[in-house]
């Protein structure tokens, strides 16, 4: 009986002591001691096997990004009529180049040629010729700035829609006529329709103004012109 009690007492004591040994309070937690620099780290790395670095065997593919073509340049020709003041109305042939900078604004360069007719004085006086054939050649160039102020669409039937724009244009240039070349100003409006993305049809009305002294008096001459043309976008 005494032996049994002793055994029971010893068992309880050992269980209680074991529980105390495993009991930890938060303030008993301490950071593990840091190894001194240059001592234990060196030892660890010396002991550990070096890590294996896997070298990629696949070469990086060079992706070629396709370029986006910009079609801002418009080149073409036009044909129409020009009223050369005092010299009647003549057929007009010209060439144009437009560069679209933004959706609203474009630069334009034009070169036009026509032939001046006879003045009323020449018509009434029979053989009187004020200008030679070469002097009647009327050529001009303009450098202008255009503004697409009414962009829109044209609908033909129910399946065909074409983009269009009504634009205002004005600029400066020079007119060669009657053996002289003078500074000129041009202004007007035009209508552009694009049946496809690369083709445009133009209809323009412009006034070409220059000051000249063909008849011995310095006068401002207005030369109205109307023409139709086609251009291709590049």
């Amino acid at each position: 009986m005494e032996t049994r009690l002793r055994l029971l007492f010893l068992a309880c004591a050992s269980v209680a002591l074991g529980g105390c040994a495993s009991l930890h309070w938060p303030w008993h937690h301490k950071a593990p001691p840091q190894p001194a620099a240059g001592t234990s780290t060196t030892e660890q790395t010396a002991d550990a096997t070096p890590p294996t670095v896997i070298e990629p065997e696949v070469e990086r593919r060079q992706v070629k990004v396709p370029a986006i073509k910009a079609h801002n340049l418009e080149l073409g020709a036009y044909y129409g009529e020009i009223s050369i003041e005092d010299f009647g109305t003549s057929r007009l042939l010209g060439y144009r180049a437009d560069y679209h900078v933004t959706e609203d604004i474009f630069f334009e360069g034009t070169y036009g040629q026509a032939k001046g007719g006879e003045t009323s004085y020449e018509l009434l006086n029979g053989n009187v010729q004020l200008l030679t054939e070469a002097e009647r050649r009327f050529t001009y160039y303009d450098l202008s700035l255009g503004y697409n102020f009414l962009p829109g669409e044209v609908f033909i039937g129910k399946n065909l829609a074409m983009t269009s724009a009504l634009y205002m244009i004005g600029g400066i240039g020079a007119v060669k006529f009657a053996g002289d070349q003078d500074f000129s100003v041009d202004f007007g409006a035009g209508y552009r329709v694009l049946p496809t993305d690369w083709l445009a049809i133009h209809l323009d009305m412009k006034d070409l103004v220059f000051r000249t002294n063909i008849f011995g008096v310095n006068q401002l001459k207005n030369n109205l012109q109307g023409f139709i043309g086609a251009t291709v976008f590049f």
Binding site: A70, L93, Y95, P151, T163, D197
Partner: protein
């Protein structure tokens, strides 16, 4: 006139047939992009006024067919075609995940660009002047500039062509001053009523100063004054003052 018209029409027809772009025939490789914004609007034309016809959803791919000014013509996987604005294209990505950069022209572009061109009008020695100028950038500050011009006066007409350097002192400023110098050729065509009967071609040198003012997108205004010394064959050189004002764009 009739002959010139016929030849012009023929030349235009040949040129059209030879050079005109043929989108159908060109089995071109197009740039593929992916939409990262909730949607991408496709307009019927290259402008903000044209209505939206199609929409490409987030994550969907599309091909870029061409560009006109700041608008891009695109084709969706369903075959729908339309025009997307450059500012919206900035919210798309390439197949490798990198963002698509749409160069739309801005203040940074005004400071740093490769080329510029413009049209200016003014006066050259009292005659009306029209000039076309183009410049290539060596650095943001330094540009090589080519100018072609014609002046039209009461006494004489003429042409000038110059090549020179422009130094933009503070290229980052919106109103930016510059200095210029160079050389060129001056061809004078005296008018018939004057004594001098023949055309004259002389070399000239110039120094100048001017201002550039950034307007918007790719546009800027440009004003310049030049002092031209024309090296004539007579005992005295001519000095012609030139000033001009105009608009230009960079690209």
């Amino acid at each position: 006139m009739r002959r010139s018209l016929t030849s012009a029409v023929l030349a235009f027809a040949i040129w059209l047939a030879w050079f005109a772009p043929t989108p159908g025939l060109a089995a071109a490789e197009h740039l593929q992009l992916f939409v990262t914004a909730p949607y991408l609007e496709l307009h019927t034309g290259p402008g903000r006024g044209y209505p939206v016809r199609w929409v490409v959803g987030r994550g969907e791919a599309f091909d870029v067919l061409m560009r006109r000014t700041d608008w891009y013509k695109v084709r969706t996987e369903r075959g729908e075609e339309g025009w997307a604005a450059g500012r919206d294209m900035a919210l798309t990505r390439l197949a490798d995940g990198s963002p698509f950069i749409a160069n739309m022209g801005n203040r940074a572009g005004f400071t740093s660009h490769n080329w510029e061109a413009g049209v200016l009008a003014g006066s050259f020695g009292g005659a009306s002047l029209i000039t076309l100028n183009g410049a290539g950038s060596l650095t943001d500050n330094l540009k090589v500039e080519l100018t072609l011009g014609q002046y039209l006066g009461n006494v004489s007409n003429g042409y000038i062509a110059t090549l020179g350097l422009s130094h933009i002192i503070w290229p980052g400023w919106r109103l930016s001053p510059f200095l210029s110098m160079g050389t060129g050729i001056n061809v004078i065509e005296p008018k018939v009523s004057l004594v001098q009967p023949v055309n004259r071609r002389d070399q000239l040198g110039y120094v100048g100063a001017g201002l550039r003012f950034y307007l918007t997108r790719r546009f800027f205004l440009r004003a310049e004054y030049r002092d031209n010394v024309v090296f004539t064959k007579s005992d005295f050189n001519e000095v012609d003052q030139e000033w001009k004002l105009g608009c230009a764009f960079f690209f």
